[in-house]
């Protein structure tokens, strides 16, 4: 067992973990943050995407021990004081989700993309989401939601620092 300490959604967490424990299971089963989902076993679907030190990461490709000392943001860390994050709100306004299973990962991937300063053309957003699969929406409304939220977030915080992890 290894002792790790990290910040998850702004809260410092410490735990003894097995070295083989994946970050996604640490989040889901050790911390009870079940918003982050597991959709495959080949790092193909992206349902488990979270932000680690501001970068989007598939939490099934990372061991919990590798997250020692990092700041992790999950889907549970976005809404503040009962207010949806602008990207969550945009997904709602544009019907960017149906069954909702890929949604946490899709939102975290979209947030990572927006915060990276990437361009927001259709093609750029679609390429930026290449690692995340959705079987319900056909992606069109997801792309629109990310573009809409990016516009609002960048207007509100031109430096691109508005996001989950602080």
């Amino acid at each position: 067992m290894r002792r790790i300490a990290l910040t998850v959604n702004g809260v410092r967490r410490e735990a003894e973990v097995e070295p083989r424990l994946l970050l996604v299971y640490f989040l889901r089963e050790t911390l009870g943050l079940t918003g982050t989902n597991v959709g495959c076993d080949t790092s193909s679907c992206g349902a488990c995407t979270v932000l680690v030190d501001g970068q989007s990461v598939k939490s099934c490709t990372m061991l919990a021990v590798q997250a020692d000392g990092t700041e992790v943001t999950t889907i549970e860390g976005l809404a503040r004081d009962g207010q949806l994050h602008p990207l969550q709100e945009a997904f709602r306004q544009h019907h960017g989700l149906q069954c909702g299973f890929c949604t946490p990962g899709m939102i975290m991937a979209g947030l990572g993309l927006i915060e990276s300063g990437a361009g927001m053309s259709d093609e750029e957003v679609r390429l930026g989401l290449e690692g995340n699969l959705c079987r319900c929406t056909g992606y069109q409304n997801i792309v629109t939601a990310i573009q809409d939220a990016a516009g609002k977030m960048r207007q509100a915080a031109p430096a691109g620092v508005q996001g989950g992890s602080e």
Binding site: T34, G35, V38, A47, G100, V125, E130
Partner: protein
């Protein structure tokens, strides 16, 4: 009872209100099966056959049982007395080629949740491991020793039908599950005498559904009572409850099935699976809660596949291209066993092989075949994508033959617009339709005439690429289904659905539905229906579903049935509420019921609109029961069960524009227009979302997806990195529009939209690619799904005589693995 006036003000129906489901799903508060953890919960894991056909010579679990944390290991023999019946197949299609012929018995093989002595496909369960953690269960699976005496394997359905092929279920003597036919009109004469007959063969690759949430099940027993609560990622909690009861001899009142948030289904969760039954069996044996969550790679073997159909499709026509008859003979690869509705899938398309076109004669025949592969069953569209694809592709072939434009050949054969139910050549009665209107809109949106002019002017080229335009004017039948029709088709259940409305004294309303949504937004849509029907806000309505302890009666969600059947049940329940409320309102307002009119969401006295009662006011009166009219029971609640008199028939026109790179074979969709008609729209936001997702899935089928087996029955596309589910980067945006021809099947005029996109889109894409390749001299039927870069490249090379067109999946789709151009070497 007084005739209830229909609500005149449609305040919520038709509006794109935001989904009530979203806040929890957007914030990580969704509750999926994998989010359930119970005290003392044990983990299940399954030992699965690595071979496609073998006798089980030895299943030795002794070493596995000794491992730390292992609670139990069960073989098929260990669990044999858990089953009162084999795994259910609810749709035993009769073996007959014509309706008037005597029917032979349906051939339904025994299918046990855990194999007892023989395995028949790779992935079949051989043993069940129960341990105190997921990891320890996985370790124990590795420790189970199985000796497989391998048997000859057959994976190609055409090979499977040949004399001397390995017989998968020996009792049947062959691999034919059934042959079933129907016809209308003098088919042989029409085809014999027609000046033009076009016949082509089409193949539908085997598809893996890929709902993003894997399957999973949690069972909590109360051993002393013999009670079981079953959480399952299922589309069908009600049907699952009945069938757990039947197969495991448990009283239905002792089974509670909960479909919590379910992450997509597309038919793959419309089943009763071995893992669900094995989980109940393990919980019954051990008296402890158990959990199983499917791994994706495991699911590729264990969850049903879709399609895998060969069709010989024919159209008979005049020299001008006027259609006279349609006839199809199809072969469907069922895999090794018949799952819940496997035999019925071809039959769901049986009446639709004439599409939206007039004709005098119609013939359909299907043969279902057993092979050593994962069973196939319903996958989004289920039988209707197959039919639509065959019709829409053969119409293009006919257009080529008679020298007409694909739009023109359709227009000259459309069934003319109709708004009363109308019998068509297959014998169905279509509910309403206007096919020309949808095609007109689609042509205008895509700039059809300009595109054809551009092709003419450029020889079909655009910037070095080949330009193609493809049309699909589809029809489907959904809203499953009239129970008596299902009876005629030997389906094992009814097609009705149920709804209950409870009006609370607080003015709030609870709706309980028998449908079981998993992404379709029923909570929002049902709220809109009830809001208009009862004159209240959707915000005051809660919609409950997916828990058989709360929603006791229902038939669940599949086949685009939920709105047309379950939504209509809600509409009818609201009528009952208003009828009772009218009686109470008349009593309280001291007028005759006839003097009340339902207007602006309340009962008003005619000519004195200030004298009125709202449903919340009446609900309170009905609850206190202080002054009710004679013979009126306290309380304002009602249930209704709707058994539809007919199917519904959504339709539409899709046009796809592609550019094909002649050097690489890469297909680029440069425009996709979908004009769909699903009758009355309740929520346009949700309808558009369903079309987006459906079209995306259909394009994926057309361009990318194909499950491949090798000759030993090994699934080669065995995980998400080798089976290509497209991401946003591989799909285009869509341009949508609609026409509205209200259905005559139900009072709201709704048809259904869950599968339309997946049904309409594949032929539009493939027709476009065939159109693009036509200037190279490539025939219509040389272009087949999936029109991947590799396959198109091979087709182009073959037509130029440069390389053999070694087909990726010849005929049965079970041939050797594909080779990339690089691997093939020397020809690129």
């Amino acid at each position: 009872m007084t005739q209830v006036a229909e609500p005149e003000a449609q305040r919520w129906v038709g509006g794109g209100i935001l989904r009530k489901e979203d806040p929890e799903l957007l914030t990580g508060q969704g509750r999926f099966v994998d989010d359930i953890a119970l005290p003392g919960m044990l983990w299940l894991s399954f030992v699965r056959s690595p071979v496609a056909h073998a006798n089980l010579a030895r299943v030795d679990v002794a070493a596995a049982k000794e491992l730390p944390g292992v609670v139990a290991v069960f073989t098929g023999q260990d669990l044999a007395d858990e089953w009162a019946a084999a795994m259910p197949c609810a749709w035993p299609i009769a073996n007959r080629t014509l309706p008037e012929e005597p029917t032979a018995d349906a051939r339904i093989p025994d299918h046990w949740p855990v194999a007892k002595d023989r395995v028949r496909f790779m992935g079949e369960i051989v043993a069940v491991v129960v341990a105190d953690s997921r990891e320890r269960a996985a370790d124990a699976v590795e420790a189970v020793e199985v000796d497989y005496d391998e048997l000859p394997v057959v994976t190609d359905m055409q090979e499977a039908l040949k004399e001397g092929a390995p017989v998968i279920h020996e009792a049947f003597g062959s691999n034919e599950a059934y042959t079933w036919g129907m016809s209308n009109g003098d088919v042989d004469r029409v085809f014999a005498e027609a000046p033009v007959v076009v016949k082509e063969r089409y193949y539908h690759p085997r598809l893996i559904p890929n709902a993003i949430e894997p399957r999973g099940v949690v069972v909590q027993p109360v051993p002393a009572q013999g009670e079981y609560t079953v959480w399952s990622a299922t589309q069908i909690p009600h049907i699952l409850k009945v069938l757990i009861g039947l197969t495991m001899n448990i009283h239905e009142a002792k089974i509670r099935v909960i479909a919590p948030d379910v992450g997509g289904g597309f038919g793959s969760k419309l089943n009763v699976y071995a893992e669900e039954l094995a989980a109940v069996a393990a919980a019954r044996r051990l008296g402890q809660p158990v959990k199983w969550i499917e791994e994706r790679t495991e699911g590729y073997l264990a969850t049903i596949h879709g399609r895998d159909v060969i069709q010989d499709m024919e159209v008979a026509a005049t020299e001008e291209g006027k259609t006279l008859g349609f006839r199809v003979k199809l072969y469907a690869d069922f895999g090794a066993y018949l799952q819940l509705v496997t035999p019925g899938i071809p039959i769901l398309g049986a009446w639709l092989y004439h599409g939206v076109y007039d004709a005098q004669a119609y013939g359909f025949e299907a043969t279902g075949v057993f092979t050593n592969k994962t069973p196939t069953d319903a996958y989004r569209g289920a039988g209707r994508p197959e039919a639509t694809y065959a019709v829409e592709r053969v119409m293009d072939a006919l257009a080529r033959r008679v020298g007409k434009d694909p739009a023109e050949i359709r227009e000259m054969n459309f069934i003319p617009p109709f708004d009363e139910a109308r019998e068509v050549v297959s014998g169905l009665s279509f509910d309403s339709g206007n096919y020309q209107a949808a095609l007109d809109k689609a042509k205008e949106l895509v700039g059809y005439d300009e595109l054809r002019r551009e092709q003419q002017a450029s020889g079909g080229r655009r910037d070095g690429r080949l330009l193609g335009v493809g049309i699909s004017t589809y029809i489907e039948m959904c809203g499953l289904a009239p129970s008596q029709t299902l009876a005629a088709l030997k389906y094992g259940a009814g097609g009705w659905d149920a709804a209950t409305i409870r009006c609370h004294p607080t003015g709030k309303v609870t709706v309980i539905t028998g449908t079981s949504p998993h992404g379709q937004g029923h909570v929002t849509t049902w709220s809109q229906i009830a809001a208009d029907a009862l004159g209240i806000s959707p915000d005051d309505i809660e919609v409950l579903h997916g828990d058989t302890a709360i929603s006791a009666i229902g038939m669940d969600t599949y086949g685009s049935r939920s709105l047309a059947v379950g939504g209509t049940a809600l509409y009818k329940a609201a009528e009952k509420i208003r009828a009772k409320a009218r009686t109470i309102a008349a009593h309280e307002l001291e007028v005759a019921e006839e003097d009340l009119e339902w207007k602006d969401g309340k009962f008003q006295v005619s000519g004195a609109p200030d004298k009125a009662k709202t449903i919340p006011e009446i609900a309170f009166s009905a609850w206190t029961a202080h002054s009710l009219p004679a013979d009126v029971e306290p309380g304002l609640f009602a249930s209704a069960v709707w058994d539809p008199p007919n199917f519904t028939f959504p339709s539409g026109a899709h046009i796809c524009v592609v550019e094909v790179d002649p050097d690489t074979g890469q297909v680029y969709i440069v425009k996709y227009v979908a004009v769909d008609d699903c009758g009355t729209i309740i929520n346009p936001l949700i309808v558009d979302g369903q079309i987006h997702g459906g079209v995306a899935q259909g394009i994926a089928e057309a361009l990318y997806e194909e499950a491949l087996y090798d000759e030993n029955g090994t699934l080669l596309t065995g995980n998400m990195s080798t089976y290509r589910v497209p991401s946003a980067a591989e799909l285009p945006g869509f341009t949508l529009d609609r026409t509205v021809t209200p259905s005559t099947t139900n009072p709201m005029g709704v048809k259904g939209i869950g599968e339309a996109g997946t049904i309409g889109s594949p032929p539009a894409v493939v027709n476009a690619v065939a159109d693009a390749l036509r200037p190279l001299g490539i025939e219509n039927d040389q272009v087949e799904k999936p029109v991947s870069a590799e396959r198109v490249w091979r087709t182009i090379r073959a037509s130029a005589g440069q390389a053999p067109a070694e087909r990726v999946a010849e005929g049965g789709g079970t041939g050797a693995a594909s080779m990339t151009p690089e691997e093939e070497g020397g020809v690129a």
